[in-house]
Symmetry: C2
Subunit: 194 residues, 2 copies
């Protein structure tokens, strides 16, 4: 039995992440990862028992980074608007610093087959708490009364859209500000007259 190395495990995850970004999820294979790292395919299988297990590990690693960033960005304020805005600004600044992580989470969540095997977002403590919080704000008529996960995904896809738009040739001058994004998120998320 081969001795496993945490450094090699991390190299496998990084190489797979790069392939997912440049080639797409479907074109990423253990053969290609092995080739990129100049190791044998069986060496990869001693860490991950299948292509699917490897892809899931990549997704989980990036999602964990995103959650850690959101967790530290969420203010401890009791004020609902401060909490919401702090979370959205945390998502924005994380996405600007680590666009690859955002793109990978998005690629997996928009992939018709992968989407079905991803861990349910409710399994994670951060999101479980987030949805409880959204529910409370809905009971207080602060957040609109629609499915909490759908609203959270709507905000996420809107922020990603903002980043893609600002990185494109069509990006307007002067740039759209983060305050404008917060204003639009408010319109989308909050009950009128908040």
């Amino acid at each position: 039995m081969k001795l496993k190395s945490e450094a090699l495990r991390q190299s496998i995850l990084s190489a797979t992440s790069e392939l997912v970004i440049t080639q797409g999820i479907d074109a990423t294979s253990t053969v290609r990862v092995a080739k990129k790292l100049k190791i044998s395919q069986s060496n990869i299988y001693s860490y991950y028992k299948s292509k699917e297990a490897l892809l899931l590990a990549v997704f989980k690693q990036h999602q964990a980074q995103l959650i850690a960033a959101l967790r530290s960005a969420t203010p401890s304020s009791e004020n609902p608007l401060e909490q919401i805005d702090g979370t959205v600004r945390g998502l924005l600044s994380f996405a600007i610093k680590q666009p690859m992580t955002i793109q990978i989470v998005l690629l997996f969540r928009q992939h018709p087959q992968m989407r079905q095997v991803l861990p349910t977002i409710y399994e994670d403590e951060y999101f479980a708490n987030l949805f409880v919080q959204i529910q409370q704000y809905q009971d207080q008529h602060i957040i609109r009364p629609y499915n909490a996960e759908f609203l959270a995904e709507g905000v996420f896809s809107f922020v990603v859209n903002y980043l893609l738009f600002m990185a494109s040739d069509n990006a307007p001058e002067p740039p759209i500000t983060q305050n404008a994004v917060i204003d639009l998120v408010h319109g989308f998320l909050l009950e009128p007259n908040q």
Copy 2:
């Protein structure tokens, strides 16, 4: 010189569309399209001079279908809200009928490299008119005063997110209605108190 056939051109576009959906943009190649259709690669090059030209033709075909659907869905009403809602409902019902077209437009627009070479949305008469209309509604303080293309893309990505969400295992029961989507689009797009 080979005689070109419109039927074969269409087969090339359809096969490429399927590869883009199942394999992703980067993994789609003229070699794979040729293999799928059991024709020679050079035969494809007599229709499209490069992989990029072929991919652009695929994008343009799907975008043209989307625009034709939006054009026929946009009511001739003079009422701003009726116009906006008619367009959003047109996008929703087209997307339900032709999810592949929506997915292809999205894949191209979210692809960091392809995004840069797509025809500017302003070149198309439908969108040129749409942006003039948005500008007018902004002057009348009906639509929020942010970049018109950014707002239009925000609505598009939100509708796509809705369809993906409703197709997933997390889709709530009872389903989120199209009226809820319209309500959220209003919150996002319209000035408060509309």
